[in-house]
């Protein structure tokens, strides 16, 4: 007997087949498809998931507590290790909260550099997202290696500007750590000129791939009203037809100066979440080009003491990180460290509806559904 997953609201109380006994399968924490140390306790009737419980915390390091100990500049290094696939965006969100709290003005050139590196980071993060998602659903390593090939070029550029590939600590309160080196701009332009072709390659390998489509179209439905209630953000929200993007709807920094489209899809399924990322990659490349064209001269950072103090007050910064809305809620008490630093991590909150999305699907689809949400456990567990 087959069930329509869209009709399933509560897990069926009785086994679908009288002869099948329900079994409980521990998926994770050590499982390659969970993208880290993540655990789903699945109750199965045959191969169909009738109940799912989500267990996390295996990578909890107490980052929020650590942030209360270090100075504002120290804490930048802690943010690198949240969503370690998009360190630039984490640095930016933290810096924006510290700047709002301490009343720091950021020079215009710094904002352009920030926009360039954060959009490059989005490309890199989406490369990992679609590559590993392809690997999860059975395209195995061909698309993955194409995506990682191009991500490698981006990490090389990060290496060029700050000497680190992943834990960059590049965006700092007041601006960015170093000005762009001379060789960066030609390297970045060269990369962008070729990039649309690279996205076409991913599409040839994935979008038109029958196996990939069979495993992702119509799978793992997240209806818009549920996405909204669970405060899902980022590509997963836009794949449910809600075109909300903080870069457009609450523009921070200089995003109001660029011409780009918010990409949405209406399928609400795994394939929509994938295709939204592909389209966003093309848009991000456009933003970087515009930022490079208008990059103004001037200082790359505000003049600022290393151990600046933030007065008593509160700040809530929010940016559109590759995974969704990344927010820092910061409370200052007049010292050189934040009194409280809450991280609104998109991966953590996007996991909210997962236990409902899994109901009625097969075990193999659980891998696809989790992969399409694109989580990073460094950020989920903090």
């Amino acid at each position: 007997m087959s069930i329509d997953p869209r009709a399933v609201v509560d897990p069926p109380t009785e086994p679908l087949n009288e002869e099948t006994e329900q079994i409980v399968v521990n998926m994770g924490p050590q499982h390659p498809s969970t993208h880290g140390v993540f655990r789903m306790i699945l109750t199965l009737s045959g191969e169909t998931i009738v109940k799912a419980e989500i267990v996390m915390g295996y990578l909890h390091r107490g980052v929020e507590k650590q942030c209360e100990e270090g100075t504002f500049v120290h804490n930048i290094t802690a943010t690198d290790r949240l969503d370690y696939l998009s360190a630039m965006s984490n640095n930016l969100a933290f810096s924006m909260a510290a700047e709002a709290l301490a009343g720091i003005e950021v020079p215009e050139r710094a904002w352009y550099i920030r926009t360039i590196v954060c959009e490059l980071q989005r490309l890199a993060s989406h490369c990992v997202a679609i590559g590993t998602f392809g690997a999860d659903v059975g395209t195995f390593f061909t698309p993955l290696s194409y995506a990682f090939r191009d991500r490698e070029r981006i990490l090389d550029m990060f290496n060029m500007i700050c000497g680190a590939r992943m834990t960059v600590s590049y965006v700092r309160p007041g601006g960015v750590a170093l000005d762009l080196p001379e060789e960066f701009i030609p390297a970045c332009r060269y990369f962008l000129d070729l990039y649309p072709q690279k996205v076409d390659e991913y599409e040839t390998l994935l979008t038109k791939n029958e196996i990939f489509k069979a495993r992702s179209v119509g799978i793992g439905i997240l209806p818009p009203e549920k996405a909204l209630s669970y405060a899902v953000s980022g590509p997963s929200l836009r794949a449910s037809g809600i075109g909300y993007d903080l870069r457009k709807d609450q523009p921070y920094g200089i995003y109001d100066r660029f011409d780009f489209e918010v990409q949405t899809a209406t399928g609400c399924d795994c394939f929509s979440r994938y295709i939204v990322r592909i389209r966003e990659m093309r848009e991000s490349a456009k933003i970087i080009k515009q930022a490079l064209d208008h990059l103004p001269p001037g200082p790359h950072t505000a003049k600022l003491s290393r151990n600046f103090r933030a007065p008593e007050g509160e700040a809530f910064s929010r940016i559109e990180a590759p995974k969704g809305e990344l927010g820092f809620y910061m409370v200052g008490d007049g010292s050189i460290a934040p009194y409280r630093c809450k991280i609104r991590a998109p991966s953590f909150i996007n996991l909210g509806p997962l236990h409902e999305m899994l109901l009625g699907w097969k075990v193999a689809d659980a891998v696809a559904i989790l992969g399409s949400l694109d989580i990073v456990l460094g950020e989920v567990d903090r």
Binding site: G57, A231, Q250, E314, V331
Partner: protein
């Protein structure tokens, strides 16, 4: 950054018209911030969600702050359609930290309230599945409280 302070007045006034006991906080960080009596929290949340001109359909973030004499729980709300933000705040007693759960209003509160229960030790009444989320069940204490310190390791 956008500065929605101009919208602070009317938005806060609309909530205060329905709930006179709600106070406007004078801390200004670009989002109007309201102090809500604990017993009114769920009603206020239901009101701001279902009133069409407020329409706060998105619970962006829930957090708690330990001020040593009390614990504040802060709800960052947003309306995706009307593009405005609001922060609600409740004060709970530190020794008997209990607050009503808003999981019935926004499902997003589920994980975030569990996180606060886990790390800050605030009990949310009416939460369907209140247990630790990031730490293990046997863990002693709530580490984000200001009086919690990492146990010192003996020196060799």
């Amino acid at each position: 950054m956008s500065n929605p302070t101009t919208a602070a007045g009317p938005l806060a006034a609309k909530v205060r018209a329905a709930f006179p006991r709600v106070e406007l906080r004078d801390v200004d960080y670009g989002i109007p911030s309201l102090l809500v009596p604990v017993e009114n929290l769920v009603d206020v949340c239901q009101h701001v969600k279902s009133t069409p001109e407020l329409d706060f359909d998105y619970l962006a973030s829930v957090t708690a702050i330990d001020y040593l004499d009390r614990i504040d729980v802060v709800y960052q709300l947003r309306s995706l359609k009307l593009r405005h933000d609001l922060a609600l705040r409740i004060e709970v007693d530190r020794d008997e930290a209990v607050a009503p759960s808003v999981t019935g209003v926004w499902r997003a509160a589920d994980f975030q309230e569990r996180e606060i229960y886990d790390l800050m030790g605030v009990t949310f009444t009416g939460h369907p599945n209140l247990k630790r989320i990031l730490l293990y069940d046997e863990f002693d204490g709530h580490p984000l409280r200001k009086d919690w310190h990492l146990p010192a390791e003996p020196r060799a």
